[in-house]
């Protein structure tokens, strides 16, 4: 009788009870934010939480793992996380340059150009034995890159030791690192590949990790034809562990589209205009499914349909309250006026360039502007492949042409190893209020081996962008300087106690390149020259000199 009643209660429960039943929760959210320059930033976030799960302890890698049974969590990703005992993992694939000065701070802070991968992994067991060599951090980091490259069809596998760095301060874990016995230290690995092109072949596997793929729910809006036509687009995978909740996987897609391009001097947007699709049905397994729209504060506008709730200038649309098909529309009463001065919403403005036209040396110049009325502390992180090396003795800090060595609080530099390891420069700077600090440092360019040149060598090498991370202690003062439209992202950053990171665009460096078009001719010419020198020396050594009588 009791079981019968229990079943009856089950029948009364809303159809979503299974979402909690299985110990996995999936929720999706789309944030749409009109930008000051008339463009529209949108951010999809798909979060799957595996309740009660913990990352695998690499000390136990030689022990058979328990079976993996998932309902909502992507199995392909779970296999990788368990196999290589990854505690926290972040992968971003972005295309284009995020314009902080015009667009403000992004919802997803990691907008480095190209592919970036960083992870925290604990040291595995087995110090010397060959069988356990695969359990060491570096071996697992290599295998992880290869596995993710296969999963996302991206050239992450080429993020090899020559691009791997372990900076100390600019990146901190989003979640927690499990407190395993003291012998198990977590190691951090970071690598970036700015020349990676992000396209449909990366989006397709990304969508396959979602429980509803792109067939229902918000993910249906992820239309590759529109997304890869946007001014900026990027996807991200973030895996972290929350001690009281479990393992969380966040899949994000961020894009900046331009409604003005559609014609008519209007920044009015709708889902159909942005994505050429509408939400025609809800994802049946999503615990929550929301669209959040930042509403204009100063102008007149109309939004259709009405948001379920408006908090802090942000209208929330819960998909469970809406009727399908759902096409959100936001219209302004006034036509759009192009602003003459880009409104600076970002906490800092960073410029970075490579100077000098010589093939073997040059200079790196970075200028960081702090528009705020308070001084801030930042970590300036530069990870350079070994083809470029820094002359630390030439490091110069100046404000308005005046040298200010006192602004450099601390510096750590890991020198590059030619043909082996990338260089890491972490400089702790304090930026005075309302000033522009210029950092100038001499760089040398290495000579590459014939086989080390990339395809299309004349194009040059992409140097990864620098990262400027605002130290959390100082970021408490930041919110006053930022516009209210951007507040959400800022608050979110603070909630996670994450340093705000600002990425500079990639640079192109042009090392000395041989003439690849005619290698055989080069060989012949070189050989002829060597043979000529050899012949001259040899003849000089063995020649017989005789005095000839000249006829009178």
């Amino acid at each position: 009788m009791r079981t019968l009643r229990f079943l009856w209660v089950l029948g009364l429960l809303p159809p979503c009870y299974c979402r909690y039943f299985s110990g996995e929760t999936f929720s999706e959210e789309l944030v749409i934010r009109p930008l000051p320059d008339g463009k529209v930033a949108s951010r999809f976030e798909f979060t799957t939480l595996l309740h009660g799960a913990t990352p695998r302890n690499p000390q136990n890698l030689s022990v058979e793992d328990h079976s993996q049974h998932y309902t909502l969590f992507p199995l392909a990703l779970g296999q990788i996380l368990r196999e290589y005992a990854v505690t926290e993992l972040h992968l971003t694939l972005n295309a284009g340059k995020w314009n902080y000065d015009r667009w403000g701070y992004p919802e997803e802070s990691d907008v480095a150009t190209g592919a970036s991968l960083w992870a925290w992994m604990a040291e595995g067991s087995g110090s010397a034995s060959a069988a356990n060599a695969r359990h060491r951090v570096d071996a697992r980091w290599r295998d992880l890159r290869n596995a993710l490259a296969g999963l996302f069809c991206a050239s992450i596998a080429s993020l090899d030791e020559q691009r791997t760095t372990s900076p100390g301060r600019a990146f901190t874990p989003v979640g927690a690192l499990p407190a395993w016995p003291a012998s198990v230290q977590h190691a951090f690995r970071h690598a970036s590949l700015p020349s990676e092109n992000v396209c449909t072949e990366n989006l397709t596997p990304f969508l396959k990790l979602l429980p509803c793929k792109s067939l229902s729910g918000l993910a249906h809006l992820l239309n590759p034809h529109r997304l890869f036509d946007a001014d900026w687009h990027g996807m991200g995978l973030h895996v972290s562990w929350r001690p009281n909740e479990g393992v969380q996987v966040r899949l994000t897609f961020q894009s900046v589209s331009d409604p003005l391009r559609a014609g008519g001097n209007s920044r009015d947007w709708s889902l159909r205009l942005l994505f050429d699709r509408v939400v025609d049905r809800a994802c049946p397994v999503a615990a929550s499914s929301r669209i959040i729209v930042t509403l204009p504060t100063k102008e007149l506008y109309s939004v259709h349909p009405e948001p379920s709730s408006v908090v802090d200038g942000r209208g929330a649309f819960d998909l469970s309250d809406q009727s399908f098909p759902l096409d959100l529309r936001l219209r302004w009463a006034e036509p759009f006026q192009h602003a003459t001065v880009p409104s600076a919403e970002a906490p800092l403005s960073v410029r970075r360039m490579l100077r000098g036209s010589a093939q073997d040396h040059g200079a790196l110049a970075i200028s960081i502007t702090n528009p705020d009325s308070d001084p801030v502390s930042v970590v300036y992180l530069e990870t350079l492949p070994w083809i470029v090396y820094l002359y630390l003795s030439t490091l110069e800090l100046s404000v308005g042409g005046v040298r200010r060595p006192d602004l450099l609080q601390d510096i750590s530099y890991i020198a590059p190893v030619p043909h082996g390891r990338a260089a890491t420069l972490e400089a702790f700077l304090s930026l005075p209020a309302r000033s522009t600090v210029t950092l100038h440092i001499g760089v040398g360019r290495s000579f590459l081996r014939y086989t080390e040149h990339p395809p299309d060598a004349q194009r040059g090498w992409d140097l990864p962008g620098a990262v400027v991370a605002l130290l959390p202690a100082a970021s408490g003062n930041q919110s006053s300087a930022t516009d209210s439209t951007n507040k959400g992202a800022m608050q979110e950053m603070k909630k996670w106690n994450q340093p705000q990171r600002i990425y500079t665009p990639a640079l192109l460096v042009d090392p000395a390149t041989p003439d690849f078009s005619m290698p055989y001719n080069v060989i012949i010419f070189t050989c002829s020259l060597i043979a000529f020198i050899f012949g001259s020396v040899f003849n000089g050594l063995t020649r017989r000199f005789v005095v000839l009588k000249s006829p009178e």
Partner: protein
């Protein structure tokens, strides 16, 4: 006055170039000789750094393996049989029936003998329905039933197997269970299943029994959108049908994310397909186009599929509700999966009319499987080894490194171990089937690893022609003056000697 001291017309004598120290014949010859000496001394080094490492492979030992044939001794004991002629006639009947190629040495004995190995088979004579237990068979043994008994024993000891269906041997398999909803958003989908419980109830006994052969990694996932690549055909009674042609293209690998990226272990897929609410019930049609009673099918060497049509809901309940898989359905699904798994792993079925008392596999089945896998592996290892030897023989540029050679040698010794047990093991008893299987599997794994070693491809794409094309411009132009100088000097030396001899003869 010496003939070669020149005096300038004005009387001052210049230095004679031939008296400079490096102009003497001996020094010049020394210089030329040292060049040649250097070249000759450098040749071994050049040879060493440009030659491809080709360690010799044990070709003769590989070919010698062809003479080896696996023999499996099989002891059968008859219990409760008084008539001694029965065992001899059964022996004769079995010898006729069991083909030589199975490699079975069947020996039938009358009475239980304490010296017999413990893994011998026992036939108990008793009236009633024949039934098989662990390694015993209860059968009404009478002279009249002997041909039937011999037929039954042949089926038990050397069962026929559909070789196309059985997955290739691997020490470890990945069992991937997938619950696929064709379209969960259309409603009535299956939102989850008690997979761990079902596995422990239905599969664990089988997996434990098979653990002597394979290890298993189990994983499962649920998908909520798994579209088909084709549309099922509607049939008369409002249901939908899958024709035999549809079944061949049923698995939509492009849309169903089934692949695994972390290991190379072979995967056996077990899929529950829940058709979309608008296409229910979905049935499999037989070759006549009529709905078949079965809703499961097997994809050889790949896995098994079951189509699950959720029962039609009552009108008062919410038809759009997604619910977990009911336990009764789970039970029937996993019974099907268990059958499919056995069939994919090549476990022979018991002959139709035989009863069994155990739930798990009988020793008869397991031993037949072990014997079959062992001979398969041994043959595979031998074929692979022979291919390596042949390939290395044919392609002279192919490098053979220490690891390839080591793998080949280890594989060979595992094979040899299998045929002739090492002296350390007690020689009176033949090695157990599991040991033999272990050796055969090691031999196969090592042979395949050697065959697919990426180091064997290293220099395949840098042919000798390229080498000469790079060398000749440098070496030809350097050696020609060297050779010319050497020849000139030899000629001059001979001439000088002849002149000296001539001068000596003249005196």
């Amino acid at each position: 006055m010496p003939p070669h001291v020149h005096v300038h017309p004005d009387g001052t004598s210049l230095r004679d170039p031939s008296r400079l120290f490096y102009q003497s014949d001996s020094i010049r010859r020394l210089i030329i000789a040292s060049y040649w000496l250097f070249i000759i001394a450098a040749i071994p080094l050049w040879w060493h750094i440009t030659s491809i490492e080709r360690l010799s492979l044990p070709t003769a030992r590989v070919h010698a393996q062809a003479a080896n044939h696996l023999r499996f001794p099989v002891q059968i004991q008859l219990e409760n049989v008084q008539d001694s002629s029965i065992s001899t006639s059964l022996q004769k009947l079995l010898d006729d029936r069991i083909h030589k190629s199975h490699g079975l040495d069947v020996q039938v004995r009358q009475q239980s003998d304490p010296t017999n190995p413990s893994d011998s088979y026992v036939i108990r004579a008793a009236e009633g329905v024949p039934s098989a237990n662990e390694r015993s068979l209860t059968y009404p043994v009478r002279p009249a039933t002997l041909p039937n008994l011999a037929d039954l024993l042949t089926l038990l000891l050397a069962p026929p197997i559909d070789a196309h269906r059985v997955a290739q041997y691997s020490p470890r398999y990945r069992l991937a269970f997938t619950l696929l909803n064709e379209d969960a958003a259309a409603g009535g989908a299956i939102s989850g299943w008690d997979i761990s419980g079902a596995i422990s109830r239905h599969l664990s006994p089988i997996l434990t029994a098979l653990s002597v052969l394979h290890n298993f990694t189990i994983e499962s996932q649920v998908q909520f959108h798994a579209p088909l690549a084709f549309s099922p055909t509607p049939i008369q009674d409002g249901s939908y049908g899958l024709t035999q042609e549809d079944l061949t293209v049923f698995v939509n690998s492009a849309e169903w994310s089934l692949s695994s990226s972390v290991s190379n272990d072979p995967v056996l897929h077990f899929i529950v397909f829940v058709p979309s609410a608008s296409r229910r019930p979905l049935k499999i049609l037989d070759s006549n186009g009529l709905p078949s009673t079965s809703n499961a099918f097997l994809l050889p060497q790949w896995g098994g599929m079951v189509i699950y049509n959720p029962p039609t809901q009552d009108t008062n309940s919410n038809t759009n509700a997604n619910a977990p898989l009911p336990p009764s359905a789970l039970h029937s699904l996993f019974s099907t999966f268990a059958t499919q798994l056995l069939s994919l792993l090549g476990v022979p079925n018991l002959p139709g009319d035989l009863q069994t008392t155990t739930d798990a596999l009988t020793g008869w089945q397991l031993d037949a499987l072990l014997r079959r896998r062992t001979s398969e592996n041994a043959r595979g290892a031998y074929d692979t080894l022979q291919s390596i030897v042949k390939l290395v023989d044919q392609i002279e540029n192919m490098p053979v490194g220490q690891d390839v050679r080591g793998d080949v040698l280890d594989s060979l010794s595992a094979l040899e171990e299998m045929y002739t047990p090492s002296p350390s093991s007690p020689s009176s008893t033949p090695p157990s089937l599991t040991t033999t299987l272990h050796h055969s599997s090691t031999a196969l794994t090592l042979a395949s690893r050697a065959f697919f070693s990426p180091k064997m491809l290293a220099l395949l794409y840098f042919p000798a022609e390229h080498k000469y094309a790079v060398y000749s411009p440098l070496f030809a132009s350097a050696t020609i003056p060297l050779a010319a100088a050497a020849i000139r000097e030899v000629v001059a030396w001979r001439k000088g000697r002849r002149e000296r001899e001539g001068a000596g003869g003249g005196q």
